[in-house]
Symmetry: C2
Subunit: 327 residues, 2 copies
C-alpha cells in the first residue's frame, strides 16, 4: 500500500494508537496454554497493512480536536475489527487451501485444517469478548450485524462457486458483504465514538464501504495477475476454487462467440495463463481496474468535512492506496 | 436421554419456553439468501436433546414463582447457548471428519468442509448478535469468556492428539473447557436472570459444570462402545482422530506390562474391537462410567434450594439423564 504522509502530529497520534492496538490485540489473545499462544503468535505475523484499525483511528482522530486523546473504545474497536479480519484470513485460507500468507506458511498448511478452523473460532470468540469489554451493547450489536453479513457473503460466494452465470451485481453484493461492511464499520465506529453526528458517521461508513469494494477488486486482480513473490501470499486461488471475479465476469458478459467461449474453457480448465491473455485482450482487466478506481473516487467525493483537516487529507490518500498496491 | 416427569404446570412452562426458543432460533438465522436458509434448516435438524436451552429455562423457572413469566432474556440466552452448541457441532464434525449426526448426513459430508466452516462461523456470529439483542453487556462478556474457554479447550485437545502420555487431569481440564463451561453458563445465567443471588447462581453454575463433565464422559463412552444406529451419529471418531478418552487414559495409567502395551498398540493401530475387549477386561470402562456418575452425584449434592420445588426435582432427574442415555 502506498504510504501516505500525514502531518507530523497526526502521524504521531496514529502511530501511538496503532501501538496501543497491537498491545491490546496481544493481551486479549494471551492464554495460559502455550499451544494456544504459539498459534496466536503465528497469526500476529499475518499483520500487514493494518488497514481496518488504521481507519478506526484516523476516522476517530478526524472528529477529535488536535491534542485531545481518542477514547479507550477506539482501541478496543480497532483491535476487534483487526481480530475479526484475522479470523476471516485464517478460515479463508482453509477454504482456499492456500499455503502462503504474508510470506509465511498458513496455519492450515503448517498445522492442518483442524487447527486452523479452531484457531479462527478462537479469534472470532475473542473479538466478541474484546468488544464486550467496552460495555456498550450498541457496539456488540453493530459488529454482530457486520459479521452476520460477512458470513452470509462468504456462504453466498461458496454457493456460487463454479457458476459461470454469476453476474456483476451478485459479485458486488458478495464483495460488499464479505469485505466492505467491515471496512465501513471501522470508519463509522471510529467517527461515531469520537462524537461525529449520525449523518457524519453514516457518510464515513459509505466512504469505508466504497474503499472495501475497491480493495476486494484489487485483491482479486492481484490473485489473477500478481506474482506470488511480490504479493506474498498464494495466488491463483480464485480460478482454482471456481470463484468468478470481476474481470472474468465482465469478459463473459461483454464478449461473444469464440472470444467468450475461449474464456469459459480457460476458466473450466483452470488455465490462468490463457485466461489472462484473453482478459487483457478484451479489455476486461482494464475495465475491472477502472471500476475499482471509480469506487475510490466515489468514496473520496462523499467524504464529509472533518474537524482535523490533516485527517481528511490522509483519508483521501489512504483511499488512493487501496488500488495503488501490488501486495 | 431419560425423560423426566415434572409437574404438569412446570412441564407446560418448559414446553412453552422451548417453543419460544425454537421460534427465536429460527428467526435469528433467517436470511434473505435461500442458500443460507437451506443450510440453517439442515442444522436445525441436529436439534435433539435441547439440553442447554432446557437448563436455561428450568434454572430460570427454579427461581421464579409459579405463574410468573420468565424474562425475555431467558429466551435469548437459551437460543444463544443452543446456537453456540450447534456451531461447535458443525465445526467438530469438520475436525472429526464425521459423516453422520442426528441420523442425517453432516454438513461437511453433504456440502463440503468449506461450507461447514463458514456455516459454523455464521452460527457463532448470530449467537453473539442474538445475545447482543438483550442489551446487557454483562451477558455478552460472560458468553464471550465461555466461548474463549471452549475454543481453548478444543485447541489444547488438538495439540494433544496422538499423545499417549495424556493424563486424566489434563483430560478433565479439556472436557471442562470444551463442554462443561457452556452447560454451567446455561444454568448460571438462567438462574441469575430470574433474580437468584450471586451465590445461588454460582452454585447453579457448578451444578451445570459437573453435568457437563459427566455428559462428555458419557459421550466419549458412546463413541467408544456405542452402536452407530442407536447413537445416531458417527462413532469411533476419537480413536480414529487420536483423541485419548477417559477409559483409555485410566487403562494406560492403571495397568502395566503386556496389558498396558496391548492397549497402546490397539490405540496406535486404531483397532476399536481389540481396545474395547482390553478396556472392559481391565475395568477401565466401568471406572470411567463410575467417574461420570460421581460427577452427577456431586452436582446433585451441590444443587441449591430453589423457589419452585418441582424445578429442583426436575433438575435432579435431568442430572441422572446425562449418564443414563444411549444416544
Amino acid at each position: 500500500m502506498t504510504r501516505a504522509f500525514p502531518s507530523t502530529a497526526l502521524a504521531a497520534d496514529i502511530a501511538a494508537g496503532l501501538a496501543r492496538v497491537e498491545t491490546l490485540f496481544e493481551s486479549q489473545l494471551s492464554s495460559r496454554f502455550p499451544a494456544v499462544n504459539d498459534l496466536c503468535r503465528h497469526v500476529e505475523g499475518y499483520r500487514g497493512k493494518m488497514l481496518r484499525p488504521t481507519l478506526v483511528i484516523v476516522c476517530g482522530l478526524a472528529f477529535t480536536d488536535e491534542g485531545e486523546p481518542l477514547k479507550a473504545e477506539h482501541d478496543i474497536i480497532a483491535a476487534t475489527v483487526e481480530m475479526i479480519h484475522m479470523a476471516t484470513l485464517v478460515h479463508d485460507d482453509v477454504l482456499d487451501e492456500a499455503a502462503m500468507r504474508r510470506r509465511g506458511e498458513t496455519v492450515n498448511s503448517l498445522r492442518g485444517n483442524e487447527t486452523a478452523v479452531m484457531l479462527g473460532d478462537y479469534l472470532i470468540s475473542n473479538a466478541f469478548h474484546l468488544c464486550s469489554r467496552a460495555g456498550d451493547p450498541a457496539l456488540n450489536l453493530r459488529l454482530g450485524e457486520v459479521t452476520n453479513t460477512l458470513c452470509e457473503g462468504e456462504l453466498v460466494q461458496l454457493s456460487r462457486r463454479h457458476d459461470l452465470a454469476l453476474d456483476a451485481n451478485t459479485y458486488f453484493e458478495i464483495v460488499r458483504r464479505k469485505t466492505a461492511v467491515l471496512v465501513g464499520a471501522a470508519c463509522e465506529l471510529g467517527a461515531r465514538l469520537a462524537g461525529a453526528s449520525v449523518s457524519e458517521a453514516q457518510s464515513m461508513r459509505s466512504f469505508g464501504e466504497g474503499l472495501g469494494v475497491a480493495f476486494q477488486i484489487q485483491d482479486d486482480l492481484l490473485d489473477l495477475l500478481g506474482d506470488e513473490a511480490t504479493v506474498g501470499k498464494s495466488i491463483g486461488r480464485d480460478l482454482e476454487k471456481g470463484k468468478l471475479t470481476l474481470p472474468m465476469i465482465l469478459h463473459i458478459s461483454q464478449t461473444t462467440g469464440a472470444e467468450r467461449h475461449a474464456a469459459l474453457r480457460a476458466i473450466e480448465a483452470k488455465d490462468g495463463a490463457a485466461l489472462r491473455t484473453l482478459l487483457v485482450r478484451s479489455g476486461s482487466i482494464d475495465a475491472a481496474r477502472a471500476r475499482a478506481i471509480e469506487f475510490v473516487l466515489e468514496s473520496k467525493r462523499g467524504l464529509p468535512a472533518t474537524r482535523r483537516a490533516h485527517a481528511h487529507e490522509l483519508l483521501l490518500k489512504l483511499a488512493d492506496g487501496v488500488v495503488a498496491r501490488d501486495s
